[in-house]
Subunit: 203 residues, 2 copies
């Protein structure tokens, strides 16, 4: 009766250290979502795989893609460039795949402008203390870089009211359950469903 | 950090025979929702309890409540009057209880006008054939009354696009899970959360 075949675009944004990458990985493990791999000029971290975590490209390649209008959004974050490819996103939509994207808050707002039915989820650590603890634990960054990340996180939170949902990461399983509920609820939203056959109540 | 203490008002509307009453009962069993008991002039069915299923009142009492502006919405359905008490609803909100209401589609729209954050869920049977089968099974009504109910159901479905969510009752457990997901997702919606302390990220 209802057309539930349209792609769902889920955008997850969070300050670094909120637990976004773990959450997204878990989400991909237990759902049929495809991950929209971003392009970046940032060098790969240990264990990161080309084409899985990111497409790692040079500054020149990135600039060329920007000039050619290849990105739905791109941004400089902590001195590195990150971008979401329009082609990859449109390809997922054409093949009716559901997609999950990790982008910064401004990027999320850009994506919503071009894909108004995208669902924007802001993902937050339970507290600043906890965020600092997690960033320290990561052990990949200097004290100064951590301070910078926290400062940046406080700026990002100012954009939260433009988002559709806010999920707090007190507990990764609870957060994951919130996200799965959001996905399920969004599939029931009238403004997402095609109602053309509703009055006939066909399946 | 977030004010999640505000009441959630869930309005469930459905054609008779969609399985609304069973669904609501199951929802009340497994959640902390309070049921907003309606007033009606309809005589009680077997097993229906005063003050639990409905407040059963006379036509005169009902008219008096209408005149005194006691109803947020009221309607004549299948020849009987049904109304939702403002006092009972406001009382639930004041005591920060979450409330679930069963009202007809026009009533749902009235409630949304007065309580804009109310969540309207339209609940549908999987098909007209199945609806007819269920109404026949109920064995409480004449053939003619059943035909009338189906005609009424087709009219009601025209209002579905004013609702927030649509849940199809193929399977009661799946439908219940959809409703619980909607509740959980609504609690994460930014437009519902109080963000006054967000920038301080307090709990």
């Amino acid at each position: 009766m209802l057309d539930k075949t349209k792609s769902l675009i889920i955008v997850i944004s969070a300050p670094s250290g909120a637990g976004k990458t773990t959450l997204t990985k878990r989400l991909l493990q237990i759902s049929s979502f495809a991950y929209s791999v971003s392009f970046t000029t940032r060098p790969p971290r240990k264990n990161e795989i080309e084409g899985v975590d990111y497409y790692f490209i040079s500054n020149e390649e990135f600039q060329k893609m920007v000039e050619e209008g290849k990105f739905v959004e791109w941004a400089r974050v902590h001195g590195q460039l990150y971008g979401t490819s329009i082609d990859l996103l449109d390809n997922a939509i054409e093949t009716k795949k559901d997609v999950v994207l990790e982008v910064d808050v401004k990027g999320g707002i850009e994506i919503k402008k071009k894909y108004p039915k995208a669902v924007l989820i802001f993902f937050l650590p339970p507290s600043w203390q906890e965020l600092e603890k997690r960033l320290n634990k990561r052990n990949t960054e200097t004290k100064e870089r951590i301070r910078e990340r926290i400062k940046q996180a406080k700026k990002e939170i100012a954009y939260a009211p433009s988002y559709d949902y806010l999920v707090v990461n007190d507990d990764i399983n609870k957060a994951l359950s919130d996200i799965l509920s959001i996905v399920k609820a969004e599939r029931c939203r009238l403004d997402r469903l095609s109602l053309k056959n509703l009055s006939k109540n066909k399946r």
